[in-house]
Amino acid sequence: MSERPLAIPGTEYIPPSLSDRPWIVRAAVQTGRFFRTKPLGGFGVAVIVLLVFVAIFADQLDRYDPQRVFEVPNPEYDPELAEQALDNPSIRLLHDEDKFTPTVLARNLPPSSEHWLGTDNNGRDLYSRIVWGSQVSLIVGIGASLLAVLVGSVFGIVSAYFGGVVDMVMQRIADAFQAFPPLILLLLMIQVIDTPSLTLITVALGIVGVAPVIRIVRSTVLATREEVYVTAAVTLGASDLRIMFRHILPNIMAPIIVVFTTSIGVYILAEASLSFLGYGDPRKISWGKMVNEGRLLGAAKPLMALWTGLAITVVVLAFNLAGDALRDVLDPRLRGASGRTSF
């Protein structure tokens, strides 16, 4: 039996730990790892990056002004008749109105090289409108989720940290919000203002989403509150505020981030449902409203609804995939118990 050389501790080569490298290297390595281990999540992130790009540079990427109404030559137009009508207006009364208008709206054209996805029911370029519609989905989705997470975290921490009556009251309020049928609560809040604006819709969605966030944060804080470092902080005489936001909050960031990312898709869907029902911001181009316009065109022209709905599906899918992958990386315990509201 040959004697194996003894490794003297501390002399062999130890590669520098990742945590000793500069943050930019760390971020790059971790991103690479994320894409390698979670290809579906990586796909989601890629689509989101693309979406953000499209939303920011919508004015560069659209091929036409989304509000521009296209017209095509009218096949019924009769130039001779129109000429005569200039001298003798009474001719107009004898013939169809169509004979006198040289062009008509380019309604519901099929896809072509000029209009990649065709035109909508008002003769506007569908592709350009879908590009612009991405802004609404993105702003509402991220805004509402951010609001719900911010408010929900504060309430959740306070509720769990103080316990007792404060906890009891807050939990009952959260119960009441969750007992409300969410879509109806949303409609009520939106109807309080005469014309719904994008901000109002975002805020309303965020409020509806607060209760489930409170639940998740509260249960995590209940466990964290018993940790030794919290007891240590209490012993050192730290104030309640300091303990809650300097000691507890940083330690529950993982579930908070997870709830934030996994909820965005749900809010995008909810905004689409609202504008589908006709309660969206009337001044904005929204995918939900476009699906409804496509629906009203009937079975002969299903393409407008098809394309727009597909856009919603892809975007929501991307956010769900990215959110789920991030959850697996950050906090696998949260599987199944998502803080999502369903609308």
Partner: protein, 323 residues
């Protein structure tokens, strides 16, 4: 057990009171009240603004809207305690009548959605789990996450448009028979939203079932079952599935609550005169008593469905004790 049920039921009382209060104040601050919107339009009264105001006030008085809001709130709570949910401004009939008329449609739709969700998700979830990381598993999972991402109103719309386009069957959007009135026509109409809703609910259930099945399949008693030489079907169905179903029952139970709200969109697309469509109409018409009554009844049902789901745990898993 009994004290647990009583305590849970009592906790629900302040929750329901909060819901009533919220909906009362939300509904009463909605801009444009019913009187001005509807009645003034129907009988265009005098052009004289003073006279107009007088007539409006007379109607407000008739509806009890002339009192200050706090007094109305107290009266509302008093009537509630007497079991009176108020009467519709529009039809002058008790608000609860409209709810009862709409309920069969909403229940039929919800039950159909649930049936489709269960019959699609349970076999798919089980297959996906026992064939983990195979092609079948990947395909089923991709279908599930896509079904979860697709907006339900869009799926319903596309189904409707393509069924009509390829003339698969005639969908009548003007008549809404219930299953026991005209089974064939009813099925033809309701099956479309049921599929659209069932896929989304089913996808949630399938994903959850898959992950709990995977967990259960690694348990010792499953290994024992295999070691005893039981057939795969017995191990999977009797030993694994039965235990994996507990969290699934929660999700299905909780989705019963959201179904009623989620059905608003389907009832809107298919013109079904269910509860959801009536709520939309009450919001648009500012018919405050109807709105209050419907939200109260829906919230109460949600709260008690949740309680029922919790109690069902104990039946499914005798280890769970209530205290």
């Amino acid at each position: 057990m009994r004290t647990y049920v009583i305590r849970r039921a009592l906790i629900n009382i302040p929750v329901i009171w909060l819901v009533c209060t919220m909906v009362f104040f939300a509904a009463n601050v909605l801009p444009g009240d019913f009187v001005a919107q509807r009645i003034a339009l129907q009988n265009p009264i005098s052009d004289n603004p003073q006279l107009q105001e007088q007539q409006l006030n007379a109607i407000r008085k008739q509806l009890g809207l002339d009192k200050p809001i706090l007094e109305r709130y107290v009266l509302y709570l008093r009537d509630l305690l007497r079991g009176d949910l108020g009467e519709s401004y529009e039809t002058r009939r008790p608000a609860i009548e409209g709810f009862i008329e709409g309920l069969p449609y909403t229940i039929q739709l919800s039950v159909m959605v649930l049936i489709i969700a269960v019959i699609t998700s349970i076999p798919i979830g089980v297959i996906s789990a026992i064939r983990q990381d195979t092609i079948i598993d990947y395909v089923l999972r991709v279908i599930a996450i896509t079904a979860l991402a697709a907006p339900n109103f869009w799926v319903a719309t596309m189904l409707l448009l393509y069924i009509v386009r390829y003339d698969l069957w005639t969908v009548e959007l003007t008549r809404h028979p219930l299953l026991w009135e005209d089974p064939v026509a009813s099925f033809k109409l309701f099956i479309i939203p049921a599929i659209a809703g069932g896929l989304a609910t089913g996808a949630t259930v399938m994903r959850l079932l898959r992950s709990t099945m995977l967990e259960v399949l690694r348990q010792d008693y499953i290994r024992t079952a295999w070691a005893k030489g039981l057939r795969e079907r017995v191990v999977v169905m009797r030993h694994a599935l039965k235990n994996a179903l507990i969290p699934v029952v929660t999700v299905i139970g909780l989705s019963v609550a959201t179904l009623i709200s989620g059905n608003v969109v389907f009832e809107y697309i298919f013109n079904i005169p269910g509860v959801g469509n009536r709520v939309l109409r009450a919001i648009n018409a500012r018919d405050v008593p109807v709105l209050q009554a419907f939200v109260l009844l829906l919230a109460t049902s949600v709260v008690f469905v949740n309680l029922a789901v919790d109690l069902l745990y104990g039946v499914l898993d005798p280890r769970i004790r209530y205290s």
